[in-house]
């Protein structure tokens, strides 16, 4: 079952096997002041974002702090009630659904958190953490079936099933992240938001977890939304990439196209800022260093939000909000200068 309406801003090129279709999603958080918590402003964490996620792909959301990438992931999972917009998941709009109706959909979408230290309850055994969703949703008929399923999930993520009775502090960072992954897989979801799944891990352990996520995607036909700030990880893992800046999409394209032909000045600057682990490459590399700080999302710049730091900004950039336009087939950018 897929949506029959025309898809969002990516127009006619989006194929019909979209698992998710996000339209004009806005997620504002109120800023309050005074004793009466009077609302004085909004943090526009996600501001009019439209995108589709295709079945079986890895869509990466890239951005710096304050770009809204994490909020976008959580709003899609309906961990927040969006301020406005639509979230079409397999033909159903989740954005305006009551919490009670969401339960069957929440089984089909899961999240893996960034910090494997704070995302696991220290008072529960690893087995209980992984098995909790099975109990909440009554997915196993007997104690025996429950135990088998937990053991099986442990094996799936490369943990020894003998370790079910251990507590989180007895595991290393990489193993904890595996527990978090096993917990997400317990529901047999179709869609997983992986929010910075490896950024808290050491380099040598990062590769192990990235390979595991890759294997699981093939094995269970999963669709991933990978929220990340590390462009190297994104290039290795993603099929398509969304670049966000201050709550807005600035560029969207296939991973190959984005890294070989970035068009938005922010994307270019972001790539330029990442040092390459090769001294020979770095010795000759021309870098473009952005000036200034990321503006506060409470009070974003007018017009194009990037104009305060943009090396090619002109007067018009201060006035109009640039539309996300298709620059070349399937390659979208929000900039009037390209």
């Amino acid at each position: 079952m897929t949506t029959t309406e025309t898809t969002g801003s990516q127009g006619a090129t989006a194929p019909q096997d979209d698992l998710l279709d996000i339209r004009h999603l806005k997620m504002y958080f109120p800023v309050t002041a005074g004793v009466f918590r009077r609302k004085v402003a909004d943090v526009k964490a996600v501001d009019d974002v439209s995108l589709t996620i295709r079945r079986g792909e890895t869509l990466a959301i890239v951005g710096e702090s304050g770009s809204g990438k994490t909020t976008l992931g959580r709003a899609i999972l309906r961990l927040y009630k969006p301020t406005a917009g639509e979230i079409w998941f397999d033909g159903t709009d989740l954005a305006n659904m009551k919490p009670g109706g969401l339960k069957p959909y929440k089984q089909r979408m899961q999240i893996i958190f960034q910090d494997p230290y704070s995302s696991l309850n220290p008072r529960l055994s690893a087995g209980s953490i992984v098995g909790e969703p099975l109990q909440v949703h009554n997915l196993t008929a007997s104690r025996g079936e429950y135990n088998d399923r937990v053991a099986q999930l442990f094996s799936t993520v490369g943990l020894n099933p003998n370790m079910v009775n251990r507590y989180p502090h007895e595991f290393s960072g990489g193993q904890r992240q595996r527990i978090g992954i096993a917990r997400a897989l317990a529901m047999q979801p179709e869609f997983i938001v992986a929010d910075e799944p490896v950024s808290a891990l050491d380099v040598s352990v990062q590769a192990q977890v990235l390979n595991l996520l890759d294997d699981l995607q093939d094995q269970f036909n999963l669709t991933y939304m990978l929220v990340a700030h590390d462009l190297s990880v994104v290039r290795h893992t993603a099929d398509r990439v969304v670049v966000m800046y201050l709550g807005k999409i600035v560029e969207l394209s296939s991973v190959k196209d984005l890294f070989e032909n970035p068009v938005h000045p922010y994307t270019k600057a972001l790539m330029s800022a990442v040092p390459i682990p090769d001294p020979t490459v770095e010795a000759t590399r021309q870098r473009q260093i952005l000036v200034g700080d990321i503006p506060s999302p409470v009070n974003p710049p007018s017009g194009c939000v990037f104009h305060t730091r943009c090396p090619i900004a002109i007067d018009d950039c201060r006035g109009d909000v640039p539309e996300l336009r298709e620059i070349t087939p399937d390659h979208w950018a929000a900039c009037i200068r390209v």
Partner: protein, 336 residues
């Protein structure tokens, strides 16, 4: 160029209830005047403790420097008394830490914190120190420097705070700056700004930099020479070129192969090379070579004899019995 600092067989141990942790276990390296040297390794390898040891800032108890020498500018820092050490710290050696919010005092203005350092080390009057502080803020690229002297740390962004830390570090014209993960807490575009600034100022002032980091990209861009640490020891030393292109240690090689690269297409279904297992618990380091449980080149001898740094090229050393077998061609094949 003359040798500025020579660390010889430094050993720092933490005496904990569970046992002795040899966080820094006999490391030796040197830094020439004006040189940019990196100390690279994963968490828990002892790289930060080795920097704290140079400054004699290892918290005691439980930690203590139990052996070695740190010859800085002709004198052994480990033999200095506390008063002499205070003059060295911040005076001859500047420091930049990872978390700029916790290393600045939240209840004093930026201006006071910079001029205090200047007054303490240079013995100048208040007005001179104030002017020097403004000059320093301008040097590190803080706009409207004079106006911002009265601001508190929370009024600065993360990148700006790290600029203030750099201003304090260079305030007394140090011969060396120790930068411990200076940009890890910052966004990538801000990280680039801060590191370029640090490099430019170091060049301009002729200051040597010891950069402690886990980021292999940052090392490749900025470091002249590299020390790779694993489980409290330096396991490979050489120029950036040696380390990245001619590595003779299985750990270094494994680390380089496990990082995805932004500038290379990984190809469909490509898997990352991994180093199996975890870095060792320092309470319980394997006998022989501490890397032996994770090593693909391991032989009998690695389980009994601990390798020391052996010369494997001009200015290039590796602590691996089997360094001959760890080669460039292999690295390339594995990458491809």
């Amino acid at each position: 160029m003359a040798t500025l600092i020579e660390v010889r067989n430094l050993r720092t141990t933490f005496f904990t209830d569970e046992g002795e942790v040899h966080a820094v276990d006999g490391i030796s390296y040197d830094i020439q005047e004006g040189e940019f040297v990196a100390l690279v390794g994963e968490s828990g390898c002892g790289k930060s403790v080795s920097a704290l040891s140079i400054m004699r800032l290892v918290p005691y108890p439980p930690g203590r420097i139990v052996g070695g020498e740190i010859i800085f500018n002709g004198k052994d820092l480990l033999k200095q008394n506390e008063r002499e050490m205070r003059a060295t710290r911040g005076g001859e050696i500047g420091m930049i830490f990872q978390e700029p919010m916790t290393s600045l005092n939240p209840v004093f203005t930026i201006g006071v914190q910079i001029s205090e350092t200047v007054r303490a080390h240079m013995g100048v009057d208040k007005q001179t120190a104030h002017n020097r502080a403004i000059e320093l803020l301008e040097m590190v690229g803080i706009p409207r420097a004079a106006d911002r002297m009265g601001d508190y740390p929370h009024q600065f962004s993360g990148g700006m705070r790290q600029r203030v830390m750099i201003a304090i570090a260079i305030s007394c014209n140090p011969k060396m700056i120790i930068a411990d993960e200076p940009t890890t807490a910052l966004d990538v575009t801000i990280q680039a700004q801060v590191l370029e600034l640090l490099q430019d100022l170091a060049k301009q002032l002729g200051t040597a930099v010891l950069l402690i980091t886990h980021n292999l990209g940052v090392v490749a861009r900025y470091a002249n020479r590299v020390n790779v640490m694993y489980a409290g020891k330096i396991i490979e030393q050489g120029t950036a070129e040696d380390i990245y292109h001619k590595s003779k240690h299985p750990y270094t090689l494994g680390l380089l192969n496990s990082v995805p690269r932004m500038d290379l297409e990984s190809g469909l279904g490509a898997r990352l090379q991994t180093i199996e297992g975890q870095p060792p618990d320092l309470l319980n380091v394997p006998k022989g070579c501490s890397f032996n449980p994770r090593c693909r080149f391991v032989v009998e001898r690695c389980y009994s004899d601990e390798p020391v740094l052996m010369p494997v090229g001009e200015g290039h050393t590796s602590a691996c019995w089997e360094w001959n077998r760890v080669g460039t061609t292999q690295a390339i094949e594995e990458r491809a």
